[in-house]
Structure formats: structure tokens, C-alpha cells
């Protein structure tokens, strides 16, 4: 594979608030290769979106402090000045957001919004940029693109708006596309279309994608690799198969167990993870999942690093249970992965 496209190491983002210091992202490291789809999953408030914004250099709040390193090729993003960040945003890294309804400027025509991005980076005429915008809209599946480029966002449906967002993100052939919950606000059928579109772009253009989501169904469909995030930290990183067939962290079992499945026996009720995620102000020492984990033991109160504990260097996790114990515990209840059942059995 050679050099990774994007290298994040020991990224920390914290915010000073009236309640105290919120450690939203706490020592996250990962690589993204060319043409790869990396999915970052976790529940609301675990720091996924803050991390995505930080990757774009968009965490500019005065109370934020950022440390660690984000390298895109040769360029360091953490601590870069506004001008160099601006030349990366939209040009080398682009982003699409959760809510296409509100992510487009309501008083600007769709085509003009794409043109604006192209002309912010390239010295081209308006009509050339508009031609490109129409081409892109057509490419992402907006019918009658030439006419629709003159429409305003409110004249587009949610799915079409997300397509327009994608067209805009792709307008300068970025190396990395960061998709922050791109399908969450959409109908199920539209979700599938958007995911198909992202897959196609990944396959045909070799676009590397960081997909941030809490929807494991989406992950299973598109991701090559998955990182599970909990309370500001990565708790497990694995290939897609690695996570779905051999999840090593009890939090991952919980996530997987909470998804309804059509194969196999149906459980009476879906598994749920008891309790709430810890506050990111002053999080617990040691394993952050400890208080909700039925298998926690004394050592969990000490430091737990993200290490390849099962022997596979591509599959590190942050749980101190012996690997065999993990595989036994999660197997209970007719092969279903669930915390509730596992907890009752131990």
C-alpha cells in the first residue's frame, strides 16, 4: 500500500466550557489508505463529529484546544494557518453532512453554490465552472441537471439535496471525502441510493472515504475497515469482517447486538447497553466502558491501551479480558451477540 493518505496520530480535542474541560476526542490514531472506506461508528456524543470537523480544520472555536497530528500526505493540518487550511478544504478534503435539508444555503441556487466552491480554488470563468457543476450534478444522478442547477435548495428533495452536496464535495476531485452521517436524515430507500452512489465513487474514482455513522447496516455495506469510538476514544479497530465476525470489545458486542437481523432466530427483544455513556468532563480513569460493562474486573480501573490483543496487528482493541474469554462470553444465547444475555449468564 505504501504511505497512507491520511495519518491521524494521538489526536486530542478539548473544549473549555462552564462545566469544565470537555475532552471530546482523546488520543485517537488511525490511518486512511488511498481508495479505502474507513467507517467510524459510535453513539451520539462520542466525539465522532468533532473529530470529523477537526480533520477538516473546522474546529475553530475559541475555547477549543487541539493537539496531536493530522497529516494529509505531506501537509500537517493541526496548527496550520488559515490560508493553507483553506486550500485543503474543498480542494483535497471535502465533507458532506448529516442534514442535507439545512446544509445548503437557502437563498443561493444549487449550481451557484457549486460554482462558488470551484471558483474559490480555481481560476476559471463562471460559465466554465457552471458547466462543471452541471456535469457533476448529472454524474451524481440529479435528473435534468442543467435546469436543476438553477433551482434553489428548497425545490430539491432531501435525497437530491444530499446528491447536490456530494456533487459539490466532488467538484475539485478531492483525495478524501468525509461523510458525517450522510444518510441519517434520509428515508431508507434514499439512504440505499446515497450509499450506492458513495460506493460507486469509491470504486470508480478511487476516492478515499471516512464514513461517520451509527448505522451498522450502512457500515456493513460500504466499509473496508471500521473503527469503533466510545467516549472520545477508539475502543476497537478492525476490518469489516473482523468486526462483524470477531468483535473483541464488549461495547462492539453491544452495538452489534442492538441491530435487528433477518437471519437466524429472532430474539424476544433487541439487546441494549445499560446505562449512559460517561460524561466527557472528567471521564472515568481506566476503561471508559467499565461502568456499563457486565464483565468488568479490577484491572479495568487501570490504564487500558488500544493494542492488538488477539494477535492480528490490524485488529487492536481496548479490553483487558483474555481473548478466549471474549469469544466465549459473546457466544451465549444461540450465537447472538448481546450484552444483556451475556451479563445474565456470567
Amino acid at each position: 500500500m505504501g504511505e497512507p493518505l491520511l495519518t491521524v496520530s494521538d489526536l486530542r480535542v478539548s473544549f473549555r466550557t462552564e462545566g469544565g474541560l470537555v475532552q471530546a476526542v482523546d488520543g485517537v490514531s488511525f490511518d486512511l489508505d488511498r481508495g479505502e472506506v474507513l467507517s467510524i461508528v459510535g453513539e451520539s456524543g462520542c466525539g465522532k463529529s468533532v473529530m470529523a470537523m477537526t480533520l477538516m480544520g473546522l474546529t475553530a472555536s475559541r475555547n477549543a484546544s487541539i493537539s496531536g497530528s493530522i497529516r494529509l500526505g505531506e501537509t500537517e493540518i493541526v496548527g496550520a494557518d488559515d490560508d493553507s487550511l483553506r486550500s485543503i478544504r474543498g480542494e483535497r478534503m471535502a465533507m458532506i453532512f448529516q442534514n442535507p435539508m439545512s446544509s445548503l444555503n437557502p437563498v443561493q441556487r444549487i449550481g451557484d453554490q457549486i460554482v462558488e466552491q470551484i471558483r474559490a480554488h480555481r481560476d476559471v470563468s463562471k460559465s466554465e465552472a457552471m458547466e462543471r457543476a452541471v456535469y457533476l450534478l448529472n454524474a451524481v444522478g440529479v435528473p435534468d441537471a442543467k435546469a436543476r442547477a438553477r433551482a434553489y435548495p428548497h425545490e430539491f428533495s432531501g435525497g437530491m439535496r444530499q446528491r447536490a452536496m456530494i456533487a459539490m464535495a466532488l467538484s475539485l476531485d478531492p483525495e478524501v471525502l468525509i461523510a458525517d452521517e450522510p444518510t441519517t436524515a434520509l428515508d431508507v430507500t434514499i439512504q440505499a441510493q446515497i450509499i450506492d452512489l458513495l460506493m460507486e465513487l469509491n470504486r470508480e474514482m478511487g476516492l478515499a472515504v471516512i464514513l461517520i455513522t451509527h448505522d451498522l447496516g450502512v457500515v456493513a455495506e460500504i466499509a473496508n475497515r471500521v473503527a469503533v469510538m466510545y467516549a472520545g476514544q477508539l475502543v476497537e479497530e478492525a476490518s469489516l469482517d473482523g468486526l462483524f465476525y470477531d468483535p473483541l470489545h464488549p461495547y462492539s458486542w453491544g452495538l452489534l447486538g442492538s441491530v435487528p437481523r433477518v437471519d437466524g432466530e429472532r430474539p424476544k427483544r433487541l439487546a441494549q447497553i445499560k446505562g449512559q455513556p460517561p460524561s466527557l468532563i472528567d471521564p472515568p480513569k481506566g476503561c471508559r466502558f467499565r461502568e456499563r460493562c457486565p464483565h468488568a474486573f479490577e484491572a479495568c480501573e487501570g490504564p487500558v491501551a488500544l493494542e492488538p490483543r488477539a494477535g492480528d496487528p490490524g485488529h487492536p482493541d481496548r479490553c483487558l479480558l483474555p481473548v478466549e474469554a471474549k469469544r466465549d462470553l459473546r457466544k451465549l444465547d444461540s450465537g447472538r451477540i448481546g450484552l444483556e444475555e451475556a451479563g445474565a449468564g456470567s
Partner: protein, 326 residues
């Protein structure tokens, strides 16, 4: 669009009718409002009063009086009860003065409100924002007649004495055709006096709008596109923040241009429509009051319609429907 305008024109007629009826009727219920008694001078005899009543038609039924008054107004023959001068002509004399005051002040207050609103919003919570907040509150709280009187006295009168020349003139109005520079020179203080309140108020409203808009998802998108801060601020934040302010501006402008800047006009002795109204009110002179009230009401309704059309142009989500209320 055509249906919208027709509908609005119809409602304008209705509003003006209602305003005229109400203003007219008020004179029949306010104490000491009988014009015949007032016109007859001090200690009139009953016969004198009766003679005036008959001469002016005050003895006719009220609806006949109303009809006569309206006829006189719209044929341009209405005269003041006291000065006997033609009301419509007097208003026309005041119009250029009032327009000059209103248009200049409106431009001034929008420019400063936008500049100060942007400045505060970008430094929200900082020292300069807090200072501007205090200044805005002072500006909003100062009565315009007081501020105007101070400006006249100190900047117009005493400063001229100290300097030996007129940096600012001490009130009055000069026709534009007479001397454009003198015209401008005489309007500077009135423009400022009238704008101060609006600048204070508008800059605060705009500051709040801008801060709210900065949190919008599409502003985040704009930043993610790699646009310059300046472009994000002007094209995405300010553009959207100004839309609600336009409505406000339209209404305030309508009032000022319709003769509502009574205090400013009077303090600086501009002899505009507002000052004419103030004089008429002081004498309870019904015809000019009625005429100026309708003049003002016309501008309020007219600018309401204009603002709705402008609004639809600024915000493509708004469609003008014939069913919109006036």
C-alpha cells in the same frame, strides 16, 4: 404577482378608508374639539358660532360632513380651519424636506447598523462588543428631541461661536436647487439625530441575527468549501441575516417618510410634513391632521407591499400569494 398587487391595492384603499373614518370621528369626541367654537375667537356669541357652523357645514349630519371633507381632500381644495391655507399645497411644500431627511437618515442608519452589527457579532462577548452594547442602549434611550436640542445648541450654536465659523448650522433647511452644499450641510445634524436610535436598535438586532446565522449548517458547509472568511461572512452569513431586518427597515422607513419624524423636523426647524402635522395638532386643526394621517398611512401600506415584494426576491422560499394579508 399581478393578483398579489391588485389584492394589495384593494386592501390599501380599505386601510386608507378606515384611517380616514377613525381620524375624522376622533374630532367629534375629543373635548374642546368643536371647530366652530375655536374658529369664532375669544368669547364669541352664540350667533357667531352658529354662523360659522352653517358656513362650514358643521351643522350637517356627520356622514355628509365626512363626504364633503373627503371630496375637498381628493380634489385638493381642503383648507386649514385656522390659517385658511390649502392643506395639500402645504403638504407638498414639506414633502422634499421630509424625503431628504428620511432617505438620508435611512441610508445612514443602515450603513452604520450593518457595520456595527458585523463588528459586534464577530467579537461577541469581547470588550468592544460590550462597549457597543452600552452605546447602543444609550442611543436607543436618548429621546430624539433632547438629543436634537443638544446638538443644535452645542454643535450648531456654541461650537460656531467658539470656532468663528459654522461647522454645523443651527437648524433650518436650504433648498437643494438653491445650494446643494448648503442643503447637505443643513441636513447633517438632523440625519444623525434621527439615525442614532435606529442605529442602536438595528445594530443589536443584526448582531443577534448574525450570531444565530453563524451556527447554521450551511455556514459550516461554506467554510468546508474552503471559502475565505470574508466571503463566508458577506455572502452566506450577512445575506441571510439581513432578510428579517429588511421588514423592520421597511416599516420604520415608511413611518419616517410619511411624516413620522415629527420631533426631528421640529427641533431642527426643517418645515417638513412632520412639523406641519405637529403644528396642526397643536391647534387641533382637523383638515391638515386628517390629510397628514392619510399621507402617512399611505406610505405604511405602500412600503409594506414593496417590502413583501423585495422579501420574495431576497428569499426564494417565499412566494407571493394573493391570499397574503395586508
Amino acid at each position: 404577482m399581478t393578483r398579489f398587487i391588485i389584492k394589495r391595492l384593494a386592501s390599501m384603499v380599505l386601510v386608507l378608508f378606515a384611517v380616514s373614518v377613525i381620524t375624522f370621528l376622533i374630532f367629534n369626541v375629543i373635548p374642546n374639539g368643536d371647530p366652530a367654537v375655536r374658529m369664532a375667537g375669544k368669547q364669541p356669541t352664540e350667533t357667531q358660532v352658529q354662523a360659522i357652523r352653517e358656513e362650514w357645514g358643521f351643522d350637517k349630519p356627520i356622514y355628509v360632513q365626512y363626504a364633503t371633507t373627503m371630496k375637498l381632500l381628493f380634489t385638493g381644495q381642503m383648507v386649514s380651519y385656522f390659517s385658511q391655507l390649502n392643506v395639500v399645497e402645504e403638504i407638498w411644500k414639506g414633502v422634499p424636506r421630509t424625503f431628504a431627511l428620511a432617505i438620508g437618515a435611512a441610508i445612514l442608519w443602515m450603513i452604520f447598523a450593518i457595520a456595527l452589527g458585523l463588528w459586534s457579532a464577530m467579537r461577541a462577548g469581547g470588550i468592544s462588543d460590550n462597549l457597543l452594547n452600552v452605546f447602543a442602549l444609550i442611543g436607543i434611550s436618548m429621546p430624539v428631541f433632547w438629543l436634537g436640542a443638544l446638538m443644535n445648541q452645542y454643535l450648531g450654536f456654541e461650537l460656531s461661536n467658539v470656532l468663528g465659523f459654522e461647522l454645523f448650522p443651527n437648524g433650518g433647511y436650504v433648498e437643494f436647487s438653491e445650494s446643494p452644499w448648503q442643503w447637505f450641510h443643513h441636513l447633517i445634524l438632523p440625519w444623525i439625530a434621527l439615525s442614532v436610535l435606529f442605529i442602536g436598535f438595528y445594530s443589536r438586532v443584526l448582531r443577534a441575527n448574525i450570531i444565530e446565522t453563524m451556527d447554521e449548517d450551511y455556514v459550516r458547509t461554506a467554510r468546508a468549501k474552503g471559502l475565505s472568511d470574508r466571503r463566508v461572512l458577506l455572502h452566506h452569513v450577512l445575506r441571510n441575516s439581513l432578510i428579517p431586518v429588511v421588514t423592520l427597515w421597511g416599516l420604520d422607513f415608511a413611518v419616517v417618510i410619511g411624516g413620522g419624524a415629527i420631533l426631528t423636523e421640529t427641533v431642527f426647524n426643517l418645515q417638513g410634513v412632520g412639523q406641519y402635522a405637529a403644528d396642526a395638532i397643536g391647534q387641533l386643526d382637523q383638515p391638515p391632521i386628517l390629510a397628514v394621517t392619510m399621507f402617512g398611512a399611505f406610505f405604511v401600506v405602500f412600503f409594506n407591499t414593496v417590502i413583501d415584494i423585495v422579501y420574495a426576491a431576497l428569499d426564494p422560499r417565499i412566494r407571493l400569494e394573493a391570499g397574503d394579508s395586508a
